[in-house]
């Protein structure tokens, strides 16, 4: 399995995913299947899958307190501790987790190894490298904003925060472009940034030697799926429009558990492709690396305070073990210990006597 195969297999998979609704709806008119049954099945898989996975993680205990300490511990009163990177309290942990989840703080530390061979031997440097962090952050936030913007299709009446997001996201009013008709309705910043970030995240996978070597089809697949999702979304907004009133009626119907099958045929096939990609994405979610979304919250190197020297941490499966006791130790080394003037529990004579007594009994 090399990177070419990985890319090939993943792109074939995504192509098939696009073709299925294209044929299913476009050629065979399976509207109910693609508009109602599959979305419900995917949502069920998504929610049940996540709950099962997270509960599964939760069933395994955290036997030891193993935070990765990234700052000064709390020790002497005059030494300034690092309350977030080496949290002493739950509050510190909460702040650390907020930074991890909302700002990808650990990833922000990233550096890039720079190796040179000089006359005096190898020379290593650790260079500035924030692109991965930036692309990851841009991608995740854009995805969130786009997801929330979609709430205009999901909620009736549309709440204020959606309007706010829409106006902020579209504030550049790129609708007014010299090319007539393009960019209408208004172009959203997040749409562009999401596609750019995804493209970067894909390109860096093949461009950087290390990631090229470690990447699996399971890494390319979600990227391609998201790129296809974004592409169909953009196409639908700007080029091959569908009846979005009907789309919203369908969405609301789904959320109210009373979808109206009559609307389905009035919506263009592109919508069904977009919807099917979403369904595949969310159904795939609980079984894939995408679960990092929930996993980060449970990571024991991040979500524990470094307090195990002053608050006892209990391991629920702690069990007694066989140890080599002091008595066994002294029994083996008593003679030389006495000779060296080391204190012993039992005197040499007394042991000698008991030994004699024992041997006497045996005799």
């Amino acid at each position: 399995m090399n990177f070419i195969l990985g890319i090939l297999i993943s792109s074939i998979a995504v192509t098939i995913i696009v073709l299925i609704p294209l044929l299913g709806v476009g050629a065979w008119n399976l509207y109910t299947l693609f508009g109602i049954i599959i979305p419900y099945a995917a949502m069920a898989t998504f929610f049940i899958g996540i709950v099962v996975k997270v509960i599964g993680w939760g069933r395994s205990p955290v036997p030891f307190r193993i935070p990765t300490t990234a700052g000064q511990q709390w020790s002497l009163p005059w030494i300034k501790p690092s309350p977030i990177d080496n949290p002493k309290t739950t509050m510190g942990v909460v702040v650390r987790m907020i930074f991890e989840v909302l700002t990808f703080r650990s990833l922000f530390r990233n550096t890039r190894l720079e190796y040179r061979r000089t006359e005096g031997g190898p020379k290593l440097d650790y260079e500035w490298e924030k692109w991965l962090w930036l692309a990851a952050l841009v991608f995740h936030y854009c995805f969130l904003v786009i997801f929330l913007r979609h709430f205009r299709f999901f909620l009736e009446p549309v709440p204020g925060f959606v309007s706010l997001l829409e106006s902020l996201d579209g504030f550049m009013q790129m609708g007014v472009l010299p090319i007539i008709g393009f960019g209408l309705p208004g172009v959203y910043l997040t749409d562009m940034l999401l596609m750019a970030a995804l493209t970067y995240l894909f390109l860096r996978r093949i461009y950087i030697h290390q990631t090229r070597y470690i990447s699996l089809p399971a890494d390319y697949f979600p990227l391609f799926l998201l790129l296809a999702l974004g592409t169909t979304g953009l196409l639908m907004r700007h080029f091959l429009r569908v009846d979005i009133t009907a789309v919203k009626e369908l969405a609301i119907g789904l959320f109210k558990f009373s979808p109206d099958p009559k609307i389905l045929s009035g919506i263009g096939v592109l919508f069904y492709i977009h919807l099917f990609i979403v369904c595949v994405l969310i159904a795939y979610f609980p079984f894939s690396k995408l679960m990092h979304f929930a996993g980060i919250f449970l990571s024991p190197t991040r979500n524990l305070s470094n307090n195990s020297r002053f608050v006892r941490h209990v391991n629920p499966w702690n069990y007694p073990v066989k140890t080599h006791t002091y008595e066994e130790y002294e029994d083996e080394f008593r003679e030389p210990m006495i000779e060296a003037g080391l204190p012993v529990e039992k005197g040499a004579e007394s042991t000698g006597e008991t030994e004699e007594a024992e041997s006497g009994e045996k005799e």
Partner: protein, 542 residues
């Protein structure tokens, strides 16, 4: 033993992984100089570890037990149920590659399977194949593969190329900790008796004699007597350490390396001098020959073995009736004391909350574990002006400080040792920020890899640290590298000799010993190593 290549030969590192050959079906080439010798059966037998036998990593036949696959898979299942860390870390990696170039072994070797992510994937691939739906259905596409003998050998080879330093976990956006994965992996292969002797022998020794080096009680005392003479020769002061003394207030435990291996021995002399100095002020401390090991090579085999060895500390403290325990300079010892000891073998209700008998400081951060780090103890003494120090006695040294990986990322003790060093030395320079504190590099030979036969691996792994030392050596003339870890003291000495021969290695308390001014001591002309002090070089010649 393989000849270790010259530094010039090791310097050419190829970071380019194969372009068209993926890793997943590529068996490992077990190379001399990289791998460690197999555990001798007697060492495994002594502590009752399974499947002890004679075997050789370079042989085709590893004489595995017949049901070895079952043992491994059952072992994985058991550990998935016991450790959330393991379960989670098997599932959530996205292979972003942030960890890839953070590992000292990858940096030094360029071997792509030394990227932390790939080291973990070696085990993950087995997990996926046997424990996940996706892996069972999609196989290699989902990064899953069968557990074969080749896969097992590869796993073994690379699990003993990780020092559990956790540098990767710092950079991982999800905190995935390769140390955790290596620990699980090593537990698993230990079920098949696939240990290395450099770990198995110290474990057996420690179990029997109380310390890794297998020093018997009388030899331990002999060695300390020798240090006593040395100290007297240099300072005219006769120190009187006590051993296994019941009723002492404090029990002192340090790694046995400090007693038997240079340059740790000088650090040991530093402790002895400090304790003697404080005796008049009311320090009542004893050493133990039974708990004569701070380190814990059991930690490099399994949690259970680690717990069995660690139990000695509290057991001895209870037997002697001390109030609390003081711990010497050691790396993984302190990760264990901080993150495991109380959970394993506590609660030590027979001990009291540690209070410094000299300053009255309550060590609140050691309230339940009841064990204080010696640099916390010493920093507190210095802060309270309890020590008369003459830092100029270390003027012949230009210092830098190496944060031990375990105390850095498994505890966070950064300021205490620096405070001590800055009070006993006048010349101190930090290495670049990407190589110290939480971002510190491993010495290159921790987690039981400081054997002789894997010297090439060790020198490669030591390169990032050495490179940073070389930088401050060239820039500031640094000639001494301080650390608070016994393994560091042993292995950095080798890697400095190899990469930066002008720099020596010391423990922090050796520097304290040098600077400590005793009442009525003779004028010192040399440091504890017998090296002339600054300005005393001529007197030496006379």
């Amino acid at each position: 033993m393989a000849d270790t290549p010259k530094p010039e030969e090791l310097a050419g590192i190829d970071y380019l992984p194969p372009l068209f050959r993926g890793w997943i079906n590529e068996p490992a080439q077990i190379r001399p100089g990289i791998y460690c010798y197999a555990a001798k059966p007697k060492n495994l037998d002594y502590v009752g570890m399974p499947n002890a036998r004679e075997w050789n990593p370079v042989d085709d036949d590893w004489k595995l037990p017949e049901n070895w696959k079952e043992i491994i898979l059952d072992g994985i299942r058991e550990r998935l149920e016991k450790f959330r860390s393991f379960k989670l870390f098997m599932d959530i990696c996205v292979r972003c590659g942030a960890c890839a170039d953070k590992c000292h072994f990858f940096i030094g070797s360029g071997d792509p399977k030394n990227m932390p992510v790939l080291r973990a994937e070696l085990l993950r691939s087995i997990y996926r194949k046997n424990f996940t739906v996706g892996g069972k259905i999609f196989g290699i596409l989902a990064g899953a593969r069968d557990l074969t003998e080749d896969v097992l050998k590869e796993l073994w080879y690379y699990l003993y190329q990780c020092t559990e330093c956790r540098r990767c976990s710092l950079f991982c956006p999800y905190g995935i900790d390769t140390a955790e994965i290596t620990m699980m992996g090593r537990e698993l292969i230990n079920l098949l008796g696939l240990n290395i002797d450099w770990i198995a022998a110290p474990v057996a020794n420690c179990y029997r004699t109380g310390n890794h080096l297998g020093i018997q009680p009388h030899a331990y005392k002999d060695m300390m007597d020798f240090f006593t003479d040395e100290i007297e020769e240099i300072t005219n002061i006769k120190v009187e350490p006590s051993f296994n003394r019941k009723g002492a207030e404090i029990l002192f435990i340090t790694p046995s390396g400090d007693v038997f291996a240079d340059p740790g021995t000088y650090t040991c002399m530093g402790y002895m001098m400090l304790f003697h100095y404080l005796q008049e002020q009311g320090l009542d401390i004893t050493w133990s020959t039974y708990a004569s090991e701070g380190g814990n090579f059991g930690y490099f085999t399994s949690h259970e073995m680690a717990k069995r060895l660690n139990a000695k500390m509290y057991a001895e403290a209870e037997r002697l009736g001390v109030k609390w325990i003081l711990g010497g300079e050691c790396g993984h010892m302190w990760r264990i004391l901080n993150q495991y000891m109380d959970t394993w073998n506590g609660p030590p209700d027979f001990l009291e909350e540690p209070v410094s008998p000299i300053t009255g400081t309550k060590f609140e951060n050691a309230k339940t574990t009841k064990m204080v780090h010696i640099t916390e103890f010493t920093a507190d003494l210095i802060k309270h002006n309890k020590l008369k120090l003459d830092p100029s006695r270390n003027d012949h040294l230009v210092m830098t400080y190496h944060d031990s990986c375990n105390t850095a990322r498994g505890m966070g003790i950064f300021e205490e040792p620096r405070y001590v060093i800055n009070n006993v030395c006048n010349n101190f320079y930090e290495m670049p920020p990407e190589t110290i504190r939480e971002q510190t590099f491993c010495c290159g030979s921790g987690a039981g890899l400081n054997a002789g036969e894997d010297m090439e691996l060790r020198m490669r792994g030591g390169l990032p640290r050495a490179n940073a030392v070389k930088h401050v050596h060239e820039k500031h003339g640094v000639n001494m590298l301080a650390c608070i870890c016994a393994i560091d003291r042993a292995v950095l000495t080798s890697s400095m000799e190899y990469w930066v021969p002008e720099v020596n290695v010391t423990g922090v308390h050796e520097l304290v010993g040098n600077a400590l001014v005793f009442e009525g001591e003779g004028e010192r002309t040399t440091d504890l190593r017998g090296e002339p002090l600054a300005g005393m070089e001529e007197e030496e010649d006379v």
